[in-house]
Symmetry: C2
Subunit: 363 residues, 2 copies
């Protein structure tokens, strides 16, 4: 580690507030004690506040991808029809998981950078009346888009009684989301983005309507079985040894979120996004996303600038982490995150580092 | 948290060395950087040292139970015959996982407190020539036994070419284990016991013989797919965002283990076990296990002593955590751990707390 003060502008892991790091460094608790039980129960209740729901919230010790797989195996049975409305790399991951279990989902693929089109959704639902579960993303970090979940969910209900699953791994506690008033059935998230914690915990909020499906679902599941998690929840426990230090950190981060107020968290993220877009406009860097999210801004680079080399140089020389493009966008875009414990001063430092190097190219 | 200095004598999570807690509180790294890649690579190489193997080691962000499920789904296919030689609650868990995937394993169940009997194993293998995978535990924390893995593995090879899987979640880096010289095919472990780290990481060491089976296996798997993990290993990466702070802690704990030397770690655990047994003999507390492990000592309590009330009082009044009995042993035994960052002085404090309360009962 260099002596440079590191700045992270990456979309997860995001930087940790000092009090979260300190909470994780406290003497570890045993997970079958009252003290841990209280902390776990607090975490679950505060997650309901963040999800904006009265539904039960489950916690898994896993990456976000584990939570995505848990939704597939707890909601689907062999022969079921699923619909995935994919708006980037993480939507495509739902397709892969579903196919892994021998099901053939109906897939709507939007061009990268575009949000989910309600007309395409309506058409697919009209052609597939028997769809049982619809999978959406809230935001996609690969392209920097946000979906209009309220509109999409309303459209689903016009056509069917399908369960609505939302991957909000990168969106929650950054981009506004109202689980109950938008009538979403399942919302998934991870600890390392808007939730300002280290990676390793994942959460699923599950509606009563979804539970009826979970109880009947026939795909095999053990570690990710939601039914076992719900049972333990009553005793303020997890079925298996949880990531205890991560829960200690999450509880502290949730205390910070409650203190700020979830609407203020959304507002702060929105302000950072606007600030970044204004700077980018000045610099002549066009946004990549047609429907840009607040969680991060993806920017196209001028012809002749190698984005990969740019971010590697900035990391090496200034200890500032900026994300590049994924897959076919590698080298062509850069992605600057706004979620979690990222401040205006972090952005300013990142902007200065980018400007300096772009000026060199123009010269 | 009371002002009392807490002492943990529980078999996982075990207490963390201060430098491990500090390592986890360092500024978080992004998982797609060279710096994290080097730390991850170091962790994997040092895990090979601890497993005593040249085989590839995989890392999962999950509890030990996740690693157990990963072994089942990466090694078995529909119709395969598995054999579980169960010596306690965690052996029984293998049976449940296998049944979840629609297979009917052959099960040998030892009476709790007894190690796996080689004669019973020989008989079962003779009657089931087509067994493809055999599941053992190294140690079982529910009963405090240790299995003679070398003898058991030799017996398996006399009868068949079955893959030998060992759950060493509570045994590794505490009880001696030689993966390569004992010819074990798969060894599983978790971060929160002998490995002196917080819970949330699990590891699987996989032999070349086992990889041939993994590549052909037909049960569905995504998050726990070992093939994806092996591919990323080449780039010093994990397929999905790993528990970054947990890897930071694990690397430090592995540095401590290397410094002490793995044989000395085994010796230290053995000495604590002998010390505890000698004290228990003096106190007239008979051992529960017929084949006692070094990782923890399970002791029977005198008639009329409620073990559950005893440990709750000790936790409340002296901030010392001691484990009670599980399932039908609840209230009847206590379990004192010796693995990980537990010292003789921790044991002395625990012994004093127990003695004081037993004297009250005798009086």
């Amino acid at each position: 580690m260099s002596a440079n003060k590191a700045i992270m502008l990456t979309p997860g892991p995001t930087p940790l507030p000092p009090s979260v790091s300190h909470a994780m460094a406290r003497p570890i608790l045993h997970h079958r004690t009252r003290e841990f039980g209280e902390l776990f129960d607090f975490t679950i209740k505060e997650m309901q506040y963040v999800f904006r729901t009265k539904n039960s919230v489950l916690m898994m010790t896993a990456s976000g991808t584990g939570a995505m797989e848990s939704a597939v195996i707890n909601l689907l049975s062999p022969g079921d029809k699923a619909l995935v409305h994919s708006t980037g790399a993480f939507g495509d991951r739902f397709v892969k998981i579903i196919e892994t279990y021998g099901l053939k989902p109906v897939v709507i693929k939007e061009e990268w950078g575009h949000a989910a089109d309600v007309k395409k959704l309506a058409k697919a639902l009209e052609e597939n009346k028997d769809v049982k579960v619809v999978f959406f993303q809230h935001t996609d970090t690969s392209t920097g888009i946000v979906n209009d979940l309220k509109k999409l969910a309303d459209e689903v209900r016009k056509h069917s009684a399908a369960i609505i699953v939302v991957d909000s791994i990168s969106g929650l506690a950054a981009e506004s989301l109202e689980m109950d008033s938008w009538n979403l059935d399942v919302v998934l998230t991870g600890s390392q983005k808007g939730l300002m914690n280290a990676p390793g915990l994942a959460f699923a909020a599950v509606s009563e309507k979804a539970w009826k499906v979970v109880d009947q679902a026939k795909l095999p599941r053990f570690y990710f079985d939601w039914r076992t998690m719900r049972k333990s929840l009553k005793d303020k426990e997890t079925p298996y040894t949880p990531g205890v230090t991560l829960v200690m950190g999450q509880a502290e981060a949730l205390r910070l979120i409650r203190q700020e107020g979830i609407e203020n968290v959304w507002k702060r993220t929105d302000e950072l996004a606007q600030y970044t877009r204004a700077w980018a406009k000045e610099q002549g860097l066009p946004p990549f996303a047609k429907d840009p999210a607040n969680i991060l801004t993806a920017l196209k680079l001028p012809e002749g600038v190698d984005g990969q080399a740019l971010i590697e140089e900035i990391l090496k020389e200034e200890s500032i982490s900026i994300a590049g493009g994924q897959l076919h966008l590698k080298g062509k875009i850069i992605r600057i995150a706004h979620m979690g414990f990222i401040s205006k001063s972090d952005l300013d430092a990142g902007f200065a580092a980018i400007e300096k190097r772009l000026a060199r190219v123009k010269a």
